[in-house]
Subunit: 435 residues, 2 copies
Amino acid sequence: MRLVIIGGVAAGLSAAARARRIDKSLEILVLEKGDAVSYGACGLPYYVAGRVGSLEELVVYTPEYFQRERNILVRTGTPAVAICHPKRQVALAGGEYVRYDRLVVATGARVDRTAIQGAEGPHVFTLQTPEEARRLKAYLERRRPKRAVILGAGYVGLEAAEALRGQGVSGITIFESGGGVLGRQDPWLTELVRQHLERFHIELRTQSRISAIEPDRVQDVPCEVVVLAAGLRPNVELAAEAEIELGRTGAIRVTERMETNLAGVYAAGDCAEAMHLVMGRPAWVPLGTTANKMGRVAGANAAGARERFAGVVGTSIVKACGLGMGLTGLSEAQARKEGFEPVVGRIEADDKPRYFGGRPATVELVVDARTRRLVGGAVIGEEGVAGRINVIAAAITARMRLEEFQQLDLAYSPPFAPAWDPLLVAAQQVSKLID
Amino acid sequence: MRLVIIGGVAAGLSAAARARRIDKSLEILVLEKGDAVSYGACGLPYYVAGRVGSLEELVVYTPEYFQRERNILVRTGTPAVAICHPKRQVALAGGEYVRYDRLVVATGARVDRTAIQGAEGPHVFTLQTPEEARRLKAYLERRRPKRAVILGAGYVGLEAAEALRGQGVSGITIFESGGGVLGRQDPWLTELVRQHLERFHIELRTQSRISAIEPDRVQDVPCEVVVLAAGLRPNVELAAEAEIELGRTGAIRVTERMETNLAGVYAAGDCAEAMHLVMGRPAWVPLGTTANKMGRVAGANAAGARERFAGVVGTSIVKACGLGMGLTGLSEAQARKEGFEPVVGRIEADDKPRYFGGRPATVELVVDARTRRLVGGAVIGEEGVAGRINVIAAAITARMRLEEFQQLDLAYSPPFAPAWDPLLVAAQQVSKLID
C-alpha cells in the first residue's frame, strides 16, 4: 500500500507523519517541488528582518530526518505535473510516473504575479518560500534601499513592513486594494493600524488597487524594492486537471475527512477549503495551523483511520511594529452579510493594572442579537493579545452565549491582568447595548 | 428604599456601583470597618516588594469619589457588630443603628491567627489589608531582616516570598501544612515549584503544620519576620448570629441570585459560597474576580433587577520569581475524588518557536474518560500562561469535549506561539492515552 503526498510543507508533512503513526507498514512518498521541506513559512519575515539568523533555523525537519526516523521518503526538487487517477499515477516533471494507492494533495498556495504588470521585475519579491526570502534579504543587504512599496495589508504585508524597517528601509508605503487591513472591512481597525504605522513612517493607502509596478515606482511612490503580499491563490491546477472538484471559493472541496470527490484522494492545507464554523459553509482560510490540522486528518484517514476536521473559526494574529492584532470569527460587516444581527461592544481598557505597567488594549466582541451567541472578536494591544483572542475563539467554537462569556472565570493577578479582564468589560458593553 | 452593604472592598463596592446603575433613586450606604475602600488587595505583595510605590496607587476609588460621582455614601472605620433582621437594622460599634430595606453582606475573609500560638507577635504579619502591608513594609525597611518564614504555599505565600526577596531577605522558608502548593495535591506541580524556588534560595516544606511561632524561630528555622499566608476563613460570624445560613464549606450559602435564606438579604464575595461548575456544588473560592462578579449580581438584584451568577471553575494564577502558574478546574486527584475518571495529559513544549526566544512551558489537561469532557488544567511557564489557562477555563465552562478542544483554531504567529500550541499538544497527548 503506497501513500503519495504532493507537497512537503505544513499539510503534506503533517499528513505523512500522522499516516506513519497510524500504519507502520505503509509506503509513504512525499513529492516537494522546492528545495526545502517542513519549514516554518511564517518565520520568513523574521529571517528577512534579521531576527532569525539563518533559514536553517526555520526548518523543523529535514528529508534525512524523515527517511531515517520515520521511514518516509521525501523527494525535493520534484514537481508533480499531472495526476492520472484512473491509473493511480502522478506524473513528474522528468517523465517519471509514480504509482499511488492513496493520494494527498497538499500543493499550497502562491502569490499570483500575473495580475500585475511588472511583477516579474528583479526588485519585486514575495515572502512565500525560503528561496524568495533569501533573494529579498540579499537584495536588501546589497542595495540598501531606502524606499519600499508593499502590496497588500494582510498579515504578510504588515510583517513585511516591519522586516523592511529592520533592514533600514526608512520610507514604506503599503497599498491595499480592499477597504481595510487584515482582510476586514473594519474602519476602526484600519484607522487604528494606520495611526500606529504612521508613527513608524509607514504609510497605509487603502482602496488602492495596483495594476502595474514600474522599475522605479508604483503609481506616484518612488521605490527601489517591492514586496508582493496580496493576490494569494490556491494551487489547484493539478487537481482541477485531474477532475478533482473545486468549491465555490476556488480551493479544493473536501469533506470533514479531507476526502475529495475522487476515491482515495485527499486534500489538505492552503490548496483546500475548510468548514467555517460561524458561517456554516466552506471557506478558504490559508494558514499554517489549519494546514497542520487538515494534514493530520488527511494523513490519518489516508492510512485507514477515521478522523475528522471540524473546521475553523477564522483566528489569526500578527505583530507589526510592536502592535499585536488578533482576529477571530466575523467582523460586524461580515456578520451582517452572513445574516446575523450583530451587536458590537468595543472598549479600550488597560491590559494589566496601571501600577503593573498596564497599557491600553482594544477589545471588540461581535454578538448575534437573535441567539446572543458570540460570532466574532478582535483584540489589539501590546501584551496578552494571543491569549485573549484565543479565549474568544474557544467561546465561538463552543457557541457560547454572551451571558456565559460575561462571567467567565478568567485568571486574575496583577502581573497578568486587571481584576475585570478587558474581555469581560467588552462583554458588559455588549450587554448594555443588546437589551 | 435603602440598600445597606456591609463591606467596602471588591464585592461590596461592586454591589454598590451596580445597584446605583440599576436604580438612580436608591439610597445606598456602605459600611467598611477599615480605613480604605476599593483597594486592589491583590496588589499588596507588590507594594511590599517596592514595585508599587504607594498604597494610594492600589486604591481604585475613594469614598469621596463614590459620594460625588455615584451618590453612594461610604462610611469607613465603621464596623457592623450585629444584624437584626426582624427590625431590618444593622448595629454599629458605637451603639448606632442603621435601617435597611435590602442588605448585602460582603464581609470578606481573614487569616485566622487564633490557631497558631505566637501569631500575634510583633514580627508576624499578614498581607490582608493596606494597614498590614504598610506595617510589614515599614518593618522590613527598619529592621532589614535576612531570614523569613512564610506559613502557607498558596498564591499569597508565593507572592510574599517574591516580595520579601525584593526587600533583601536572603533566606526564606515556606511551611505548607498540606501536601502540595496552590491548594493542589499535585506532586509534579509541587516538585516543579520547589525546584524553581530553590534557585532563589527559597525552601519549600510541605506536610508541615505549624502550631507555634516563637520570637526568633519557627520550628528549627531561625527567622526575624513571619508572614501568615494560610488559614483564610470567611467572616461569617455577623451573618451566623443573624441566622443567615452557612453552607457546608462554612461560608454563607447563597442562591445563584446571591440571596441568603433571609428575604432581602444578599451575600457576596469572600464570605460567601459560589457554585463550582465542575463539581456541581457550592465551593468556597475566595478570589477578587469572583468577589467582583458576585457583588455585581448581588447589587443588581438588591436594586430590583434579576441577574444570576452562574459560578466558577476555580481559575487562579500567580507569578513568583518569574514563574507563572495558572490553574483551573480540578486536578487529577480532585477529579477522582469528585467521581470523575481522569485521564491526564501533561507535556512540556516551547511557548514560542525557538528562533523567537521560546521557553519551555508545562501544560496539563485533565479529561474525564467517560464524557471526554475537560475538567481541569494547569499551565506553568514564563509567558502566555494567563492566556492559555483562560482558554482551558473557557473550554471547561462550555463543557467542551477533548475532540473539539484538540482542534481549536488558536492564533499562530511566531511572536506569540508555535504552530502547534502547547494546549493542542497536551490535548493530543490525552487523546493518545484515553483510547
